[in-house]
């Protein structure tokens, strides 16, 4: 396969994962204490399966879908207003997280379950760091308060999703047909 073919395939896969992250907002699974959506599952898979650059590109596509006006942000919201609002930091965090997850996972030639989980934990931390930063800046919440409302309720669900993401990534990485440049 020459490089041009692979990069076209990479582009198609990055838009696919952008669309998956968008559709993930509509897939709500009732797990206690807070129902989870599959958005961060697809975000994690974009990073682990596509690599840092393409993974981040897939999340840029996702953000642009929402900016154009498709209701693909959490809770069926859309528009630049959401991006600059209190919860916009989480969305910007998606781009950074996919990059970090992809780069960390690629440090090993063939990462195992534990290494993938570790990369995903780092990615989740990036989403929350940027999310809480914007939440406390825009909503004028004290960082501790922002942490309590913007992070803690979601941690159990995130733990489950990280394990699930790593497991699915191991299962699917050979189906995706090798690495993307």
């Amino acid at each position: 396969m020459n490089t041009e073919q692979t990069s076209l395939r990479g582009m198609v896969y990055a838009s696919l994962f952008g669309a998956l992250t968008a559709v993930g907002a509509y897939i709500i699974i009732p797990l206690p204490p807070v129902p989870i959506t599959l958005q961060t599952l697809f975000l994690g898979l974009a990073g682990t399966l596509l690599g840092g650059r393409l993974g981040a590109l897939s999340q840029v596509v996702y953000l642009l879908l929402g900016i154009i006006g498709l209701p693909v942000f959490a809770g069926g919201k859309a528009g630049l207003g959401v991006l600059f609002g209190p919860t916009g930091g989480y969305l910007i965090g998606f781009v950074a997280a996919a990059f970090v997850i992809g780069k960390l996972a690629a440090l090993k030639a063939r990462p195992g379950f534990a290494w993938l989980c570790l990369s995903l934990v780092a990615g989740t931390a990036v989403v929350y760091a940027l999310g809480v930063l914007q939440l406390s800046l825009v909503a004028r919440l004290a960082p501790v308060k922002a942490l309590a409302v913007g992070v803690l309720p979601f941690l159990p669900g995130d733990g489950i999703k990280i394990v699930l993401t790593a497991w699915i990534a191991l299962k699917l990485r050979d189906r995706i047909g090798g690495k993307f440049p």
Partner: protein, 264 residues
């Protein structure tokens, strides 16, 4: 029966508008919908209905575009209905949460926002051919090329993602039904069981999506798609019609601003 994201060739005034005008109008609408007050809700709804009518979108078609997201719409309505604090209308004694006046209003508002956004996007994709859509997005993103972001690639990717979304939603629906017919249960059972049920949905969804993505990549290669600067068959050019559309959107924005200023 049409789907969200599908293009239906036609010769209405909405079809003939410049894609840039249509895309920017949807962006403007999403901002208006985001912060709409009750009066504005009526104004924006009337505007959406008028545009959908001008695009010859039938009410059945409009309902059809909302069908794949109907479950989600019902869910966000119910969440706001039951979990908003305020003046209680109805208490569900043994269950947590209660129906409040604020919850009912909030639920209707959020559901309206969502339906409005979906309809606006549906009118855009219904009346704009894929190549026009790509051309329009590319022109709007072109300033990004100066800071090294590949606008052309991004435009093609957004257009592809727009067509992937309804396909993924339908596939997910099919898989969910198939799994439920086999006795899968996502609402009861231990955490491990439920997690496994989620994996049993996500893995086949991803596998079928990968197959479609590969097919699309091969099809694009076979037709000689190359990355990099491209020319288009039809150069985009603004006409009087487009300026008129801009004026209409401008009036809508002005009207909402004036309404807000006088209300204060």
């Amino acid at each position: 029966m049409i789907r969200l994201g599908q293009y239906l060739p036609g010769d209405t005034i909405v079809h003939r508008l410049d894609p840039r005008v249509k895309i920017l109008s949807v962006v403007a609408l999403s901002l208006l919908i985001f912060a709409a007050t009750p009066v504005e809700i009526a104004l924006i709804s009337a505007f959406l209905a008028a545009v959908a009518g001008a695009a010859r979108m039938t009410p059945a078609q409009a309902a059809g575009t909302l069908r794949p997201v109907a479950v989600f719409m019902a869910m966000i309505f119910l969440v706001h209905l039951f979990f908003t604090e305020g003046q209680p209308l109805l208490s569900l004694a043994p269950l947590p949460g209660q129906v409040t006046r604020e919850g009912l209003l909030r639920g209707i508002y959020v559901t309206w926002q969502f339906a409005g956004l979906i309809l606006a996007a549906a009118v855009l994709t219904l009346t704009t051919s894929p190549s026009e859509l790509v051309g329009g997005i590319e022109r709007l993103l072109r300033p990004l090329s100066r800071i090294g972001i590949p606008a052309q690639d991004l435009a093609v990717m957004i257009a592809m993602a727009l067509r992937f979304m309804p396909m993924l939603l339908e596939e997910y629906d099919r898989l969910r039904m198939a799994q439920m017919a086999r006795g899968a249960d996502f609402t009861t059972g231990s955490l491990a069981l439920r997690t496994r049920a989620v994996a049993a949905l996500a893995v086949p969804l991803l596998l079928s999506a990968f197959r479609r993505a590969d097919e699309l990549a091969v099809a694009m290669e076979a037709r000689g798609y190359r990355r990099g600067p491209r020319t288009t068959l039809r150069e985009l050019a603004f006409s009087g019609r487009d300026l008129g559309a801009f004026a209409v959107i401008g009036i809508l924005i002005l009207a909402t601003t004036v309404l807000r200023m006088t209300a204060l």
